[in-house]
Structures are given as C-alpha cells and as structure tokens.
C-alpha cells in the first residue's frame, strides 16, 4: 500500500492548505485521543493536566505536528528520513505502535471537522495511507 504519485500530490497539496493550522490540529487530535482512548493517557502520567486545551497537550500537539511536517518533506523516503524519530520512539518513548493508528484516526477526524470541503474521499485515502506509512517508518527501529 505504498504512496503513488497521485497520493503524494494530494498529500502535499492538502498539507499546504492545513499547515497554518498545524498546531491547532495537533492539539485537538491529541486531546481527542486522550479522551476517546483513555488507555493512551498511560504515556503521559508525568503531565499535571491532560484535559483538552491544557498547556502540555497544546505543546505536545505542536511537537507531534512538526514531526508530521518533517514526514511530508521526506515523503519520498520515509524510512530513512524518519530514522532518528524512529529511534526516539523505539528506545526512549517505547510507544506501543498500535497507538500510531489511534492518533492517526484522531488526526483524520480533526481534518474532517476543520476542512470539511477539502477533506474529500480522495484526500482522505491519501492521508490515511500517508499516516500509515509514517507509522510504519516510526516502527522501523523497534525490533
């Protein structure tokens, strides 16, 4: 299920539209994930406040989205491009890779809310494939 040229164009085109809202998108997606999938809170026991809109959630949403931005820029070779991030997730954060899918789903929900007319089925499938490819690249160093 690799990214076709058509997928990459759709992704880059859509990314240009959404990039100005990246921080809000990241914060909203993360907040939703923590509410809708409470088991994900186990990774953030060191935060004082896990509620939507809180400072740590906003800050971390921004961090995550800058990772997504980096992935967009390295879309032609995600595995090599995201090696450092993969090492981080594998050796330090040790996030169960099942959670990548969960966060991806919540990102898609936020995109549907904020960009209802641009998030067409074609853009949806391209973004879903892209986020799956990013998740795969992030899992590279796990074992």
């Amino acid at each position: 299920m690799s990214l076709s040229a058509k997928d990459k164009n759709a992704i880059k085109g859509f990314w240009d539209k959404i990039a100005p809202e990246a921080e809000n998108i990241g914060a909203d997606a993360l907040a939703r994930m923590l509410v809708v999938y409470p088991q994900t809170k186990t990774y953030f026991s060191h935060w004082q406040d896990l509620s939507p809109g809180s400072a740590p959630v906003r800050k971390h949403g921004k961090t995550v989205m800058s990772g997504v931005a980096e992935a967009v820029s390295k879309i032609d070779d995600l595995t090599n491009g995201l090696l450092t991030l993969s090492e981080l997730h594998a050796f330090q954060l040790r996030v169960d890779p099942a959670n990548f899918k969960i966060l991806s789903h919540n990102l898609l929900v936020v995109l549907a809310i904020q960009f209802p007319s641009d998030f067409t089925p074609e853009v949806h499938v391209a973004m879903d494939k892209f986020l799956s490819a990013v998740a795969l690249a992030l899992s590279e160093k796990y074992r």
């Binding site: 939703r32 923590l34 809708v36 929900v109 809310i113 209802p116 998030f119 089925p121």
Partner: protein
C-alpha cells in the same frame, strides 16, 4: 450489559435525531469503498466502482448506504438491548453475506468522519467518545453470532 451514561444516551439520540440518514449513509459507505477499496469485494453487482467519482455517483451505493443507516436506527431505539436486537442481522452478515467483521470497524471509522464533518466543532471529544462507543457496541453485536 452495556452501561450508558446519561450523557452518552442523550448524545446518541441527539446525533441521530438531527441526521440526514440518506446523505450520511451514502457518504459514509462511499467513503469506505474509496478509502478501504478491499471492501468493494462485497459489492460485485453494484456496477461501476472504478474510481472515487464513480463510487460517489453510484446510485446503488447511495441506496445501500441508506439501508445501513436505517439498520443502525434499531440500535438507537434499543440502546439497552443492542445484542438481542441485532441477533438476526448478525446471523445474516455471517452466514449469508460472509462479511469479515473487521469491516464493521472500517465503516464505523468512515461514519465517524462523515458525522464529524457535519457537526464541526459540535463534535467534541466527549461526543466523539460516545459515538465511537455506540458504533463499537453495534459492531460487537453484529459479530456475536459468528462462529
């Protein structure tokens, strides 16, 4: 027995009472066929599903999307008895339609996204949680009679 909070009950009733079943059903099923193309395996007699435009414009997809949403209505009206309400439908999906139950999750995800885009910021995290829980219970009930 599934425990529903007052908020969850009210949220589900509210979402479905305001919903355009035909439109949401059409869009959710079409989106599912586009985003997860292997789901097209169940619709061999639907004619042209060659690309997103064809799928979106296909009248059989629209009609079937409405059928699915009206089927969901049964769960909306029997929230305390979803498992029993769907026993026959579960047998149907297993014995006759031979649908892989993972597809219930895929369609649920597409429904979530369509409803999210319709409700906008009204689709808060708490509303999303209630909606996804409801769809998960439906999926579980539909899977119950598989063997």
């Amino acid at each position: 027995m599934v425990e529903w909070t007052d908020f969850e009950r009210a949220t589900i009733q509210d979402i479905f009472s305001k919903m355009d079943y035909e439109s949401v059903g059409h869009n959710a099923l079409a989106r599912c066929l586009v985003v997860y193309p292997w789901t097209q395996r169940y619709f061999g007699n639907f004619g042209n599903l060659y690309n997103a435009a064809a799928i979106m414009g296909n009248p059989k997809v629209a009609a079937h999307g409405a059928v699915v949403l009206h089927g969901l209505d049964r769960a909306v009206k029997n929230m305390d008895n979803i498992k029993a309400t769907y026993a026959e439908l579960s047998v149907l999906h297993s014995e006759k339609l031979h649908v892989d139950p993972d597809n219930f999750r895929l369609l649920a995800d597409c429904l979530t996204i369509v409803v999210a885009s319709r409700l906008g910021t009204g689709f808060t995290a708490d509303v999303q949680a209630a909606f996804q829980k409801f769809l998960a219970v439906v999926g579980s009930a539909l899977t119950k009679q598989y063997h």
